[in-house]
Symmetry: C2
């Protein structure tokens, strides 16, 4: 497969595209992150989600530290070409570095943000073996 | 309700936060856009999605031209505070300006991007009455 399809992405001024991960089956939106060209290319080729870490300024192979890889079932592109949607199988059932299923674990109610998802595994345990 | 909760958002250097709209019921991710403080405040107060149009540099009250408003059932915030997820009821069943249900109407296959969703209503008809 040639990489012509990568040229249809509208990379932002930092060379990144927004990437949303949605869980296959449950439909739960797990996280939003960013990808550069290499991250998206590797994701498509290898079938595992690879992001670009803006804080660390390097490729972030999701699960490299936690083991919580995302197996990518499908990659979708939006009308503007500036966001991709990954339909994924979430290994360990934990996408968030806080140990929760989804990163979207706060919901707005009349008093502000309230937590709606339990910590399934403590972060100190998740990252212990791989640190 | 005071607006203390807005201070927990990590606005980017342009004063924006990423906003993902997901359809209630179907779980379909409809679109990704951006919000500034006023857009998110109005969305929470009025129950209809208001975004910030980066191309037009003004508030974009979703549906103002198309009639395809989004009634917001829930607003979620991610762990980093830099992305919100709106669970919405999509009026007209069309979120995309191209007349499709979702903006994510392209899927990557071995030959590149392929369209996976039909145009439900031609854009020239959608925008005719309101232009």
């Amino acid at each position: 497969m040639n990489e012509q399809w990568l040229n249809q992405i509208k990379w932002n001024s930092d060379g990144l595209v927004a990437a949303i991960a949605q869980e296959a089956g449950t439909g739960r939106v797990l996280m939003m992150a960013w990808m550069n060209r290499q991250a998206l290319s590797e994701t498509a080729a290898g079938g595992k989600a690879v992001y670009w870490s803006r804080s660390r300024q390097r490729l972030w192979r999701k699960g490299e530290a936690s083991g919580h890889e995302q197996r990518v079932k499908e990659i979708q592109l939006d009308c503007d070409g500036d966001a991709v949607l990954l339909v994924v199988e979430q290994l360990g059932g934990i996408a968030c570095h806080t140990g929760r299923h989804s990163c979207f674990f706060r919901r707005l109610d009349k008093n502000g943000w309230v937590e709606t998802e339990p910590v399934l595994k403590d972060a100190s345990i998740i990252y212990k073996d791989k640190s």
